[in-house]
């Protein structure tokens, strides 16, 4: 077994007095992709937000490659290589595609490094190269999702947290996004991908966790999830 990239021990968190995460423990090995599935409103996004530091932790611990990070502010976690690609259209709408991508590399040491990463992203998403000067708000939904992923890639993080990459997209676009995620795995192999629907996740994940009401109720390989009809019916409505 390889080293642990990210480890959570009995994490609890929520908003105001509402406890959303009720003791989550998770271990993501280096180079593996972990999928988290569950119905909406059961803590998937909150979990990623807690890991990223956008939502404060109530109790428990988070370790990134063995270093405790749960007391660090969000931007410092990014500097350590923990990067989230947020849900939906969280691109900088009034900036150009290139400015959006450059913001992903705001912590990059020099212009050469930024240029290298831009080339990498433009190779993966030729459409973004075509739209380089265009203001992000004028992109289509699929293009914006690509931009969000490209921007995450620009950070050159060690571990990427991806929040519902298929959300609100037409099936054909979902195919494109997942193709991009497969490419992404070659560059950043350690991923946590959150989805409401387990179907697409199974193609990419090495291991799947099912979350329900702020707790993991099952975990196993994608193959065993497919065979587990009861589980799929009970928690995922399939």
């Amino acid at each position: 077994m390889s080293a642990t990239a990210l480890k959570l021990t009995t994490v609890e968190a929520g908003y105001d007095r509402l406890r959303v995460l009720k003791g989550i423990s998770l271990s993501v090995p280096d180079g593996k992709t972990v999928g988290i599935v569950g119905p909406n409103g059961h803590g998937k996004s909150t979990l990623l937000r807690v890991i990223s530091g956008l939502v404060p932790l109530w109790s428990g611990q988070i370790f990134l490659s063995g270093v405790a990070i749960h007391n660090l502010p969000a931007h410092q976690r990014v500097a350590l290589g923990l990067v989230q690609i947020p849900q939906g259209d969280m691109v900088f709408a009034d900036m150009s595609v290139e400015e959006n991508l450059r913001l992903g590399a705001i912590l990059a040491p020099d212009e050469d490094e930024i240029a290298n990463r831009l080339e990498l992203v433009f190779n993966m998403f030729p459409r973004l190269l075509e739209r380089r000067e265009q203001v992000a708000r004028t992109l289509s939904g699929g293009e914006r999702r690509m931009l969000g992923i490209g921007r995450g890639l620009m950070t050159s993080g060690q571990i990427l947290l991806i929040d519902e990459p298929s959300l609100g997209l037409a099936p054909k676009l979902i195919d494109q996004v997942y193709e991009a995620l497969h490419d992404l795995r070659r560059i950043t192999p350690t991923l946590i991908v959150v989805e409401e629907n387990p179907e697409r996740l199974q193609e990419i994940a090495d291991y799947v966790y099912v979350i329900d009401d702020g707790e993991f109720v099952w975990n196993g390989t994608p193959a065993s999830l497919r065979e587990n009809a009861d589980l799929l019916r009970t928690y995922l409505g399939a």
């Binding site: 990223s52 931007h75 990014v78 690609i85 969280m90 691109v91 709408a93 450059r102």
Partner: protein, 292 residues
């Protein structure tokens, strides 16, 4: 024709000064959702810094603006780190900061009152002479004022669009959470915006006082007018506020010429009430400006 030119020239001068005060307000609103009513205090600080530099240190007028700018920068830094950074994460920040900045404005104004005295003095930052064009004299003071404001605008736009700090400020103003997820320190971006705004206000303070007089409460009027302009233009829209500043400068001067000196400001206030009734988000504003 002479009169028309006079109105245009004085309108452009006050418009240019309003523009400087307005971008300081607009920058903080668009990046932090912060209505900074202590803007006037920074205007006064700039005015007094230039005055101190030229009368106490007997320095050349060339140093007046840089000294005022540095005074503004330092005040902005202190203002951010002593007050704003402890408040901006709170839920009621947008309301609380208005009250807090009024308090800071009063503190600074009284501080100046107690050290420099209440007398209105002449700002020594003056350029004598003028350029005769088409039958009127275009004072060098006017040209210098407009040139400095133009330089300020160019510098601000350059900082916002071409520098790393500017990129950070714009990112935070558009998507605070996404900016954090890119590794941007929101506090650092806010601090930078605060220092930038205070520097602009302080430099504009030199210009405002040079065209009127210098006294502790000098910034109040300028801030009120900047606020009016910001609201009419649509809070947070920097380019529209520059345009509105010049337009309202011309409007005010025209009203003053036609109806008399004392009607200029009331006419502006009447205009803002009208705009707020007809277009609550301002002429160029977006309907949704609620930020959390």
């Amino acid at each position: 024709m002479d009169i028309f030119l006079q109105i245009v020239i004085s309108g452009l001068t006050v418009g240019a000064m309003y523009a400087a005060g307005t971008i300081a307000l607009s920058l903080l609103w668009s990046s932090m959702g912060m209505l900074n009513l202590a803007n006037g205090a920074f205007i006064a600080i700039g005015g007094y810094a230039a005055y101190w530099c030229m009368t106490v240190l007997h320095a050349s007028w060339i140093f007046a603006l840089p000294v005022a700018a540095v005074a503004g920068l330092i005040s902005g830094y202190l203002f951010y780190h002593l007050l704003v950074r402890w408040m901006y994460r709170q839920a009621d920040f947008q309301i609380n900061i208005i009250i807090a900045t009024v308090a800071v404005a009063a503190l600074i104004e009284n501080g100046i009152l107690n050290t420099a005295g209440p007398e209105a003095v002449r700002q020594p930052f003056q350029v004598a002479g003028g350029l005769p064009i088409a039958g009127v004299i275009l004072p060098y003071q006017t040209l210098v004022t407009i040139a400095i404001v133009l330089a300020l605008l160019i510098i601000i736009l350059w900082v916002l669009t071409r520098t790393r700090l500017g990129l950070m400020i714009r990112a935070v103003s558009q998507q605070k959470e996404a900016a954090q997820l890119m590794g941007i320190n929101v506090s650092q971006a806010f601090g930078g915006a605060m220092m930038l705004a205070a520097t602009i206000a302080a430099v504009s303070g030199v210009l405002v006082t040079a065209n009127t007089q210098l006294f502790p409460g000098v910034g109040f009027d300028a801030t009120l007018k900047a606020l009016v302009i910001c609201i009419i233009a649509g809070l947070g829209n920097i380019r529209a506020s520059i345009f509105m500043a010049v337009a309202l400068g011309l409007f005010e001067m025209t009203v003053q010429y036609v109806f008399g000196q004392r009607y200029g400001f009331p006419a502006m206030l009447a205009l803002i009430i009208l705009v707020l009734i007809i277009k609550p988000a301002g002429l160029f504003g977006k309907e949704t400006v609620t930020r959390v």
